[in-house]
Amino acid sequence: DVKVTQSSRYLVKRTGEKVFLECVQDMDHENMFWYRQDPGLGLRLIYFSYDVKMKEKGDIPEGYSVSREKKERFSLILESASTNQTSMYLCASSKYWASGGRDTQYFGPGTRLTVL
């Protein structure tokens, strides 16, 4: 079974703190993604990575950065947390897409971050 794990299920931080969210997958997937999910807005893509040390901005990258030093690990970093970053953060991974193809994304359980 594919397994995607996230370092914390529930996290509370203060405004201005630096926050690290870690995601690890065990299926040797090339693609990894970070999303946030908010009521009424569904999943919004923050960043994704299609290979080690490669990253691309998603739809809402402002206020976030990412790091992919190893294939199995994709970190989301909030340099200076703000209250509007209170959300559910979901990590996912998938195999590399062949041209015109698509592959299922496997999701982690999510981290609910509250910024006070």
């Binding site: 569904g42 999943l43 559910m88 897409w97 698509r102 299922t104 994304q105 496997y106 999510g110 609910r112």
Partner: protein, 112 residues
């Protein structure tokens, strides 16, 4: 163990056909069920269902939740080639709603 199972795994239909996708779940403290359409990168939100028996509808897509049967269906009528995608079902659960469980999706291909 909490889980979400979708069926069928894949489906190939002709344009104009009607399809029904299934999602069943076993979770503790169910809060909501969500349907997504995934084409390339990010899944696109379709519906969120929290109450049993209420149909959510958007154009040719509709969905119903059956909390007694712990399942949901997603219907697509008069399918078009643009409906080709992976359809994901996710369930939010837990005392504070801080756990998501995703199915592995149904891959739908609509051929002209």
């Amino acid at each position: 163990e909490d889980k979400v199972v979708q069926s069928p795994l894949s489906l190939v239909v002709h344009e104009g056909d009607t399809v029904t996708l299934n999602c069943s779940y076993e979770v503790t403290n169910f809060r909501s069920l969500l349907w997504y359409k995934q084409e390339k990168k990010a899944p696109t939100f379709l519906f969120m269902l929290t109450s049993s028996g209420i149909e959510k509808k958007s154009g040719r897509l509709s969905s119903i939740l059956d909390k007694k049967e712990l399942s949901s269906i997603l219907n697509i009528t008069a399918t078009q080639t643009g409906d080709s995608a992976i359809y994901l079902c996710a369930v939010e659960a837990g005392d504070t709603g801080n756990q998501f469980y995703f199915g592995t999706g149904t891959s739908l291909t609509v051929i002209p």
